[in-house]
Structures are given as structure tokens and as C-alpha cells.
């Protein structure tokens, strides 16, 4: 929520109602995303990786909407934002490097 210190009560309520309308629209968007994910998963692209990519893009978009708007991160203070960024970075590091470690280039091949 933006700076509510200087607003009158009516202005605060109006702003909250604006957010409420926004949240309802986003909820519909999330449901649409779910339907889209299911539909896209049934399509054949030859390479299964494309299905995975599409599903992840939709899921990440939904995640962005939930975190950004339902959890208000988009208007949150810098302190909170940095905590989330750190977690995201280390999560990527943990997943990425663990997976990189098992790629055939990185494993001594038995003869």
C-alpha cells in the first residue's frame, strides 16, 4: 500500500477498494493461467522440454502475480525485497549447481 499517512479515511478506503478490484481480476488471471497450463500440457511439440518451458513460464507468471500483488511485494519496503532476492539467488545456486554437477561433462566417466 502506498503512503497512507497523509490520506483521509475516505481516501484510504477508496484506495483499498481499488486494490480489492485489482485482486479479484488477478485471481481470474490466475485461474486462466491454470487452465492454460493444462491445455498446453496436452500439446505435442516433439521435444518435451518445450512443454516444461511453457509450464514454468506460466507458473512463474502466476507466482509473480501472487507474490507481487497478493503478498504486496511490489510495494513493499527495500528490506523485505532484499530478503526475497537473497533467497531467490541461493535457491537458484543450490538447484543450478547441483544439477550442473551431474551433467556428463562434470562426471568422471567410467571406462
Amino acid at each position: 500500500m502506498s503512503n497512507t499517512q497523509n490520506q483521509t479515511k475516505e481516501q484510504k478506503v477508496a484506495e483499498i477498494q481499488r486494490h480489492v478490484r485489482q485482486h479479484k481480476i488477478i485471481a481470474l488471471g490466475l485461474v486462466a493461467g491454470t487452465v492454460l497450463t493444462i491445455w498446453a500440457s496436452k500439446m505435442e511439440f516433439g521435444n518435451h522440454s518445450i512443454n516444461i518451458a511453457i509450464a514454468m513460464v506460466i507458473a512463474c507468471t502466476q507466482a509473480f502475480l501472487i507474490v507481487g500483488f497478493f503478498m504486496n511485494l511490489i510495494s513493499e519496503k527495500k528490506m523485505i525485497y532484499s530478503v526475497v532476492v537473497f533467497a531467490a539467488v541461493f535457491f537458484v545456486v543450490q538447484m543450478g549447481i547441483t544439477l550442473w554437477a551431474r551433467s556428463p561433462d562434470n562426471v568422471v566417466q567410467m571406462r
Binding site: I16, M71, V83, V84, A87, L99, R102
Partner: protein, 257 residues
């Protein structure tokens, strides 16, 4: 003795204590579920070809549950917004819907788990594999009765085509070498399915309990300290949205891909 900034925001950070606390907690939860997702990917990618199953979970139920959780998330946020606008009754209604959705989710999940525990893969002495749901009332000490099929090939077991017939099959126990249900020990896919969704269910139950306690037994604080009460609802709501977020990733990963 009063702890500062429990309700009022600290000027330089602009935050009250519990807001930071919950986001820190959520950061750790990202690492927890993230590690499980990493494990899933590593085990899946590392599995021998043809050993990792697909389409073993019913996407209708999963999709329905996804939408139920989305609804619960938005009603949860609307509940908090109602409190900010001093609308107590609306808060009670919205939060009631949130909890109802949670119960529906748990109900569907219970059904899914029940189904898996009663779904068996039976290896027979002649090498055939029968696969189907146990019909308990008809099963005796001598005969196992399932509704299922004889599997044509291992590949078909790993990726069953939709619309298969499930006739009633009687199998004498003397012909059975091994009978395994689709519980966690069936293979790594079911193992991870139960572990990831099981941990998620625990979080749903925890969140539901907190939301309920605030809504019910502990709602007296709305009269004595409404701003602090609203903050508590907000913090619980952040946790609830996160639980929804985890499911947004679990659903496609386990059910669709």
C-alpha cells in the same frame, strides 16, 4: 514491558516486526521446497530411460485443487482488506470461505492419497503384471479382486494411455509373486509425490489452524487492539499465499509434465 514496533512501524525501515519475521520465514521455506524441487529434477533427469512414470496423477483433481487454492488466496486477501476498512462481518465471511476452501483441498487430497494406497501393481508367477484398484469387500484370503487390467508392456505401465477399460479381475493369491501399492515406496516418483504434497499438506493444516484461531478463539484482540489484530491477519495471509504459491509449482511439475 512492551517490545517496540510490534504494531507501529519503525521510521527507518517502515516495517513492523512481524512483517520482517514472516518474510524471513518464507525465505527459509523457499529454500526448503526449493531443495525438494531440486531433488525431483535431479532424480527425474537421472532416471534410466523408461523408468520415470507420467500421467499417474489425475489432472482433473489437481486442477480443481489449484483453482480452490487460488480462490482461498484471494478471499484471504479480501478478508484482510475488509479488516483494513473496518468491515468485521465481511472479514468473517471471506475468511470463512478461505477456510472452507482449505478443507475442500484437504478432502480432495485425502481422496487422492486413499486412491493411491488402494491401487496395486501385482506381479504374477507367469510374468504378467496386473494393475488396478483393490476391491476390498470381495477380496478373500485366497483371491485378490481388482478393477484394472493386465499390462501389455512396461512402457504402458509407466505412461498409461487415457480411457483404458477396467474390468473386474480375480487373481488367486497363489499366483501372486509381489503386490505393491502406489504408496511412497512404489518408486521415486510416488515417493516424491507423497513427500512434496505431504509436506505441503502439513503447511495447509498449519496455516488453516492459525487462520482459524485468529478468526475464532483469539478474535477478542479486534476489540482491544484492532491494528495489531489486523497485522496478525496480514502475516497469516502472507503465509497462506505462499502455500498457494508452492502448489502453483507442484501442480504442473507432478501432475502435468
Amino acid at each position: 514491558m512492551e517490545i517496540p514496533y510490534t504494531v507501529e512501524r519503525r521510521p527507518d525501515t517502515g516495517l513492523y516486526n512481524a512483517k520482517i519475521g514472516i518474510w524471513l520465514f518464507l525465505a527459509s521455506e523457499v529454500m526448503l521446497f526449493g531443495a525438494l524441487f531440486s531433488s525431483y529434477i535431479l532424480l527425474r533427469v537421472g532416471a534410466d530411460p523408461g523408468t520415470w512414470p507420467r500421467h499417474w496423477l489425475d489432472w482433473h483433481l489437481g486442477g480443481f485443487n489449484t483453482i480452490v487454492l487460488i480462490i482461498s488466496s484471494v478471499t484471504n486477501v479480501l478478508a484482510w482488506a475488509s479488516l483494513k476498512m473496518n468491515q468485521w462481518e465481511k472479514y468473517r465471511m471471506y475468511q470463512g470461505i478461505t477456510m472452507l476452501c482449505a478443507l475442500v483441498f484437504l478432502g480432495v487430497k485425502s481422496y487422492e492419497y486413499y486412491d493411491k494406497f488402494h491401487h496395486y501393481e501385482i506381479t504374477l508367477t507367469d510374468g504378467r503384471i496386473a494393475d488396478g484398484h483393490l476391491q476390498k469387500p470381495e477380496t478373500t484370503t485366497n483371491t485378490v479382486v481388482i478393477e484394472g487390467r493386465f499390462v501389455e508392456s512396461h512402457a504402458e505401465l509407466m505412461d498409461p494411455p487415457p480411457g483404458l477399460a477396467h474390468p473386474r479381475i480375480e487373481i488367486p493369491r497363489s499366483q501372486i509373486v509381489e503386490m505393491r501399492n502406489y504408496g511412497p515406496s512404489h518408486n521415486n516418483f510416488t515417493g516424491l509425490y507423497f513427500t512434496m504434497t505431504g509436506l505441503h499438506v502439513l503447511h495447509i493444516i498449519g496455516g488453516l489452524l492459525v487462520i482459524f484461531m485468529l478468526w475464532g478463539p483469539l478474535n477478542g484482540m479486534w476489540k482491544t487492539d484492532p491494528e495489531r489484530y489486523t497485522n496478525r491477519v496480514e502475516v497469516a495471509g502472507l503465509f497462506w499465499c505462499f502455500v498457494d504459491l508452492v502448489w502453483i509449482f507442484i501442480f504442473p511439475t507432478l501432475y502435468l509434465l
